[in-house]
């Protein structure tokens, strides 16, 4: 029983380093022996070894569906992978409340919305609404947080206006529809708007959604990003930590 070499990690079927992966795909070809061979060659040209077309099926209209198993010779150097992660420590609700009241000395103000054409609210509601998500209460339930949930389909301009209006510490954005990278466009729009208005540094700018992670959010110019399985306390911990750091920064200046 060999040990995993973390500099060369390969897919695992039932034996270390066998490299087995499962694939399925559709080709714009009616089913024939040649189409099956095309599926096999696709796999070979993609660098797989020993591809087995275990299923092929005509889908009609000149398309066929294939299921393959193949061996991948590709190895990933796991030891060199560093994922950019927020370094904040996730606190419990009570700790967060205590921190805000003791260190910040006023309520933390937050506005949130699902922006532009995106009508999905369940994600932002999970973070903000009193009820919360999976037994984790949302930001509205925090005594030390003043939370405004504007809902869905909110234009970037309207969201910013409200944030300025209530003097928000943080702007929370949810993006669920990602087709044709719609979310990237919407999120970039928000950052550009803040920069255009010269208020980018007035707010913590935070985004969440099923295809969001911290790294992507940073790339897009956000302060943080949260993906699936986030709870209110994750983002609240981040916010209070950052707000306190930023304030300290201000004082230092």
């Amino acid at each position: 029983m060999s040990k995993v070499d973390l500099t060369q990690v390969r897919p695992y079927g039932d034996t270390l380093n066998d490299g087995i992966v499962q694939l399925s795909l559709t080709l714009p070809l009616p089913l024939s022996a040649e189409a099956q061979e095309a599926a096999r060659r696709w796999a070979l040209q993609s660098g797989f070894q020993d591809p087995k077309v275990v299923h092929s099926q005509d889908l009609g209209e000149g398309f066929s569906f294939f299921v393959l198993y193949a061996r991948s010779p590709v190895a990933v150097d796991f030891s060199s992978i560093k994922v950019l992660k927020s370094s904040h420590k996730t606190l419990e609700k009570a700790e967060i409340e205590a921190l805000i009241s003791s260190k910040l000395g006023r309520k933390l103000v937050v506005v949130g919305a699902s922006i532009e054409s995106d009508a999905h609210t369940v994600g932002i509601d999970a973070i903000m609404n009193i009820k919360g998500y999976n037994g984790h209460k949302g930001l509205e339930s925090y005594h030390q947080i003043e939370a405004y949930n504007l809902g869905a389909q909110v234009a970037c301009e309207d969201l910013l206006a409200r944030a300025l209006d209530v003097g928000a510490d943080a702007i929370l954005i949810s993006q669920v529809v990602t087709q044709k990278d719609l979310h990237l466009r919407n999120l970039t729009r928000m950052v550009e708007l803040l920069e255009l208005e010269g208020v980018r540094n007035n707010f913590l700018l935070i985004v969440g959604g099923p295809r969001i992670n911290y790294e992507l959010a940073k790339e897009l110019g956000f302060d943080a990003g949260f993906g699936p399985g986030t709870f209110a306390e994750d983002v609240a911990s981040f916010m209070i930590e950052q707000v306190l750091i930023n304030r300290k920064g201000d004082h230092d200046v």
């Binding site: 509601d125 044709k180 099923p210």
Partner: protein, 524 residues
């Protein structure tokens, strides 16, 4: 499945069901006077469309919008577009399309037209309406003839969506799906179309998460489905969405182009698209009049409630809303056989006995609406990117559907949590549904539920809770109930949302010939 569904497996109390209907009727009756006394810009554009006005101006604005906007600017709208156009036709001796084009070029105005006797206008309007009415009737006959000669799939109908954004790519997907076994093809709309206060024009090839609903797209897809229907030897139904700000216009387009099914539900627009409720109730009345007359099955959107509310706690809200939607349909004369009332399988699968509760709910909707082609929606909320697990969840949905005699079966997709369906996703979904249906078709007939068991109890409790909810709604009024967030846990105000500015009170001489032609209420 055959309708009416006659089994009484839940031992429901017929008196309680009848009471529920009475209360729902009261609720609708409360808003009826408001609906009847108002119209909207979209209703008027619909009339204009059915008078034959089509196309867009050089700036791309549809002529129906040009015309109705003109009427509003001139403060003439309260008599209704039909009256104004009738008048203008009489006066100028031109047809509505020419009128629209000339008005667009500022060559003509509807201001200061001479007065005609109401009788004359009425007759003229009926004449203008005739071609559309004839065409719609003919489309209905075409449908019947094609079903007669080709036949159709057995219920539950397999309902597949296409959503590439490109109508031509959609056709490829639709044709393949039909060859694989789909009975109904729904062309999902692009994100955001429901918020547009006009209907895009012509064939379209770009959209996000869906394809724009345009009359050209309807016609192109209709032709494709008629063709493939001939190939596979069964009539293929086409679905689109008449919801959002252009609800009745799309209904008209669908009636003219022989769509067969239309998503058509104000409640959905109010709650999930933040459409103003006054606007959309008025629009809905006229839409359903059209759909009813055209023989189009409507689908309602109660299934969506369970994406924001919890399916265990909110099961009764679905039934209550279905009952209200039924009365709204009756108000427009749309018969049970065209009421595809919505419900869904959305209980968290980790909930112990989830299947029993799902069966209770599916069977309950089936038994309360024995004559309606009820629409059953697959799990979406608890689907994850684990496509294999998702395929299992959908299989159980297929099991529940065939076991409880559903009519319209929305195909669940193993990739629900990640993207709109790839061709192979749709194929796998159809394959699973066919396998399960074939495997278990007669299972429902073979079993009975334990007397006072968990299934029967749950169904009865849900029915009772729905009745209680309806009583509360009757007390607060439907507007009040929506404000209180009684559906889907989302609250909307009567004057909020989009489209209220398009609502106006009808003047004393208001005219809409289609209401009587479509068998609408004499009071309108």
């Amino acid at each position: 499945m055959t309708r009416p569904y006659l089994a009484n497996k839940l031992q429901l109390d017929p008196v309680l069901i009848a009471e529920a209907r009475t209360i729902a009727n009261d609720i609708v009756a409360q808003v009826t006077p408001f609906i009847f006394s108002h119209s909207t810009v979209s209703v008027e554009r619909t009339i204009v469309r059915m008078f034959g006005v089509n196309g867009v101006n050089p700036e791309g604005i549809p002529f129906p919008n040009v015309l109705v906007d003109h009427m509003r600017e001139q403060g003439l709208i309260e008599d209704g577009a039909a009256s104004l156009i009738a008048k203008a036709c009489l006066h100028y001796g031109k047809n509505p399309q020419s009128l629209a084009e000339e008005i667009d070029r500022n060559e003509l105005s509807l201001e200061n037209l001479p007065d005609y006797p109401l009788e004359t206008l009425h007759e003229m309007a009926l004449g203008l309406a005739l071609p559309a009415v004839t065409r719609i009737k003919e489309q209905g006959r075409n449908r019947e003839a094609m079903i007669g000669s080709l036949g159709q799939g057995a219920e539950p109908y397999l309902y597949a969506i296409v959503a590439t954004g490109n109508i031509y790519e959609d056709i490829i997907q639709a044709r393949a799906a039909v060859h694989q076994g789909a009975d109904i093809i729904a062309v999902i709309r692009s994100t955001g179309q429901s918020l547009l206060d006009y209907v895009p024009y012509g064939p379209t090839t770009e959209g996000f998460g869906g394809t724009f609903a345009t009359q050209a797209n309807f016609s192109i897809m209709r032709q494709a489905l008629d063709e493939v229907g001939q190939e596979v030897g069964r009539y293929i139904r086409l679905t689109n969405y008449c919801s959002g700000l252009c609800m009745p216009e799309i209904a008209a387009m669908g009636a003219l182009e022989r769509l067969d099914v239309m998503l058509n539900d104000s409640m959905y627009g109010i709650i999930f698209r933040d459409i103003n409720m006054q606007r959309t109730f008025i629009d809905q009345y006229f839409s359903r009049l059209i759909n009813g007359f055209a023989g189009i099955v409507i689908n309602t959107g109660e299934d969506n409630y369970l994406t924001t509310a919890d399916a265990m706690e909110a099961a009764h809200t679905v039934l209550a809303s279905d009952l209200i939607n039924e009365q709204f349909a009756f108000l427009s004369g749309l018969p049970e056989a065209q009421q595809g009332l919505g419900h869904a399988m959305e209980i968290n699968p980790d909930q112990p006995d989830a299947f029993l509760y799902e069966i209770a709910q599916a069977q309950l909707i089936r038994e309360v609406f024995p004559r309606s082609p009820i629409k059953y929606m697959p799990p979406t909320k608890y689907m994850t990117g684990n496509i294999f697990r998702a395929h299992v969840q959908d299989t159980l949905f297929n099991v529940a559907s065939i076991m409880t005699g559903q009519s319209i079966h929305l195909l669940g997709m193993l990739t629900e949590a990640s993207h709109t369906p790839l061709m192979q996703d749709r194929f796998l979904s159809i394959e699973s549904a066919q396998l399960v249906f074939q495997y278990m078709r007669n299972f429902g007939d073979e079993i009975t539920f334990a007397a006072d068991g968990k299934i029967q109890q749950r169904a009865r409790e849900t029915l009772q809770a729905a009745v209680n909810m309806l009583i509360t709604i009757r007390d607060t009024g439907l507007f009040g109930a929506l404000e209180k967030g009684m559906f889907a846990e989302i609250s909307r105000s009567a004057s909020g949302g989009r489209g209220l500015d398009g609502v106006f009170a009808k003047g004393p001489n208001y005219l809409n010939p289609f209401v009587e032609l479509f068998g609408g209420d004499a009071n309108v």
